[in-house]
Amino acid sequence: MKIKIVVGTALLGLILFHQVSAQQPVPSTHKNGTSYPSRFGFGRLATTAEIALWDIDVRPDGKGLPAGQGDVLKGKVIYTSKCMACHGNNDTDLSKIKLPAPVLVSDTLAKSRPKAIGNYWPYATTLFDYIRRTMPYNQPGSLTDNEVYSITAYLLYANKIIKQNQLLNAKTLPGIVMPAKKLFIMDDRKGGPEVR
């Protein structure tokens, strides 16, 4: 009786093992011949709350953008108090001053300098993602979502990409086409003898 159960369990295990492993994109036998289980059973399921706490990324299609909104005028006020000390006042010529952080405003022509948001950033969503995750430098991650929308709006406006009255939110931000997007190509090196 006992043996039957053990054999039965083993068979069931084998069947389950094969069903699971059939779905895996890699073989479950290691190079040296030892067979890997389809799962080791280490680790634990992550809760929805745990994922939400860390899942702060934003994709170009808008996936990950939070609720809330911002505008250019609010953004300019926040920029002045929280960003300008490092990134400079975008209204005056700072070409001769060495700033602690990159200049953020350029025109939209590909060959113009400096390389900044207007002529070198291919996606507007990247602004939101980056500012929210790591700015301001001395207080990383301290801005509210609305503040991030507003700073993003101000920077897009200062780079002549949106109008002063445009509101930014999860719906409008992914729709903004950046002037530099058309310049970007995927890696076209192919390996092999050719120098590219």
Binding site: Q23, Q24, P25, V26, S28, H30, Y36, S38, R39, F40, F42, G43, R44, L45, A46, E50, I51, W54, D55, I56, D57, V58, R59, P60, D61, A110, K115, I117, Y120, W121, P122, Y123, T125, T126, D129, Y130, R133, T134, Y137, P140, G141, A180, L183, F184, I185, M186, D187, D188, R189, G191, G192, P193, E194, V195, R196
Partner: protein
């Protein structure tokens, strides 16, 4: 010079303290003197006494908890606010001592409690999961020797440059951890997932998008470097390792991986780590193309006429180094250098070439050839392929050293 002066000062205070103790001062007085001395020990770089005339006539210090470098050796990284460079000219083989591994980080080195550490893998998976450090260590482990290199690793512009200054943003370690494919099987990665986002837990919350195929190929989640826990500057307690791919993608202090059907277009893969190629901007340029550098002789070293063993390192992010050619006549003729076994894929490979210098001025160069048939290009070839405004990423030109009549060596800027 400054370092030597410092050493002597420390030695001096060592002697004074010892004499004080031997002099039999009262306990109350010994205590403060000792604590003053302790301060010196902690801040001073070397405390060993000056070596005796004849070491065979003096018993040396006994075993200790932790080894130290010889007090005569001072290899150091050269650092700025954002990075530090490995002293390539001080290395005799290919493993970089962990404390001399190059650094590049974007918001400092975070302090992370290994007891609280967890890696989250979620997104296009059957089971979103969290793994503690102890759990990651339970999985079958793998060790691999490979190089890391910053995509911006090349500096020129003047003659007085050392290998460290020109190309010091590359280092090599033996890394140990779990294959990312093992973890992807554990969480049930969706076959439709094409990319994954890797995210660090530094204040930059650094993110890069990586093609999932790299996970099924050779990507690793590593917790050890040269046999011990990873250094804080290298991502303690856990980093992503993508052999052969640009350093920035090898996310340190890794806390999260999200599988996705498209890339995230993060700041580091769009406005940074991209470069002009003619009238376009190339992005997602992952593999580090083959390159090499002669580390001896190099600036500011001097050679003497007669036999000189030219030495250096070569590497390719696309596989093994097939051969390294060395020229001692400014590129007119090339000879195959000897490669030090074992030649590993995506790893620094040490090369050596015996040369008899006749004392006349010349230029010495090296060029790497990898197993894909790629020959390290000249700067001119790179400019022809990419245009002259090619920027500073993925620049791997042949570099040249000038040998002057007096044996001094200078970099040749182009």
């Amino acid at each position: 010079m400054k370092a030597q002066k410092k050493d002597k000062q420390v030695i001096k205070s060592n002697k004074i303290s010892r004499r004080t103790l031997l002099g039999g001062m009262v306990a109350a007085a010994v205590l403060p003197v000792n604590s003053i001395f302790a301060k010196h020990v902690q801040t001073g770089p070397h405390i060993a006494p000056e070596p005796p005339e004849d070491p065979t006539k003096t018993i040396g210090p006994g075993p200790s908890a932790q080894g130290k470098r010889s007090t005569f050796e001072h290899p150091v990284r050269k650092f700025s606010e954002t990075s530090s460079r490995s002293p390539l000219q001080d290395f005799h083989s290919t493993i970089t001592p962990s404390d001399l591994h190059y650094e590049r980080h974007h918001a400092g080195v975070p302090a992370i409690d290994p007891q609280k550490y967890e890696l989250l893998i979620h997104g296009m998976v059957e089971r979103p999961m969290k793994f503690t450090l102890a759990e990651l260590k339970r999985f079958p482990a793998v060790s691999r020797i490979c190089f890391l290199e910053c995509a911006g690793n090349f500096r020129g512009g003047k003659e007085e440059l050392t290998p460290q200054e020109i190309l010091g943003l590359t280092s090599q370690s033996e890394w140990t951890g779990v294959m990312l494919s093992t973890l992807f099987r554990e969480v049930g990665a969706d076959p439709k997932a094409l990319w994954f986002l890797a995210e660090g837990s530094d204040a930059a919350v650094m993110t890069r998008s990586v093609p999932v195929k790299k996970a099924w190929d050779d990507a690793m989640i590593v917790y050890a470097q040269n046999g011990e826990a990873i250094r804080p500057e290298q991502g303690y307690p856990v980093r992503l390792l993508l052999p052969g791919w640009e350093g920035n993608m090898n996310i340190k202090w890794l806390r999260r991986i999200e599988l996705s059907d498209e890339p995230y277009m993060t700041r580091e893969e769009t406005s940074k780590y991209t470069y002009p190629v003619k009238d376009r901007i190339r992005m997602f340029s992952f593999e580090m193309d083959a390159r090499s550098i002669i580390t001896f002789p190099s600036y500011p070293q001097k050679i003497m006429p007669g036999w000189v063993e030219i030495r250096g390192i070569a590497w390719s992010g696309r596989g093994k180094i097939e051969k390294v050619e060395v020229s001692t006549d400014a590129g007119k003729t090339w000879q195959d250098a000897r490669l030090q076994d074992p030649v590993l894929s995506k790893a620094h490979t040490y090369f050596r070439h015996l040369w008899q210098w006749d004392g006349s001025p010349t230029e010495i160069l090296s060029r790497a050839v990898d197993e894909t048939g790629y020959v390290q290009p000249t700067l001119r070839q790179l400019a022809e392929a990419r245009g002259t405004a090619m920027g500073g990423y993925h620049m791997n030109p042949i570099t040249s050293w000038q040998i002057k009549t007096d044996g001094s060596t200078l970099f040749k800027p182009e």
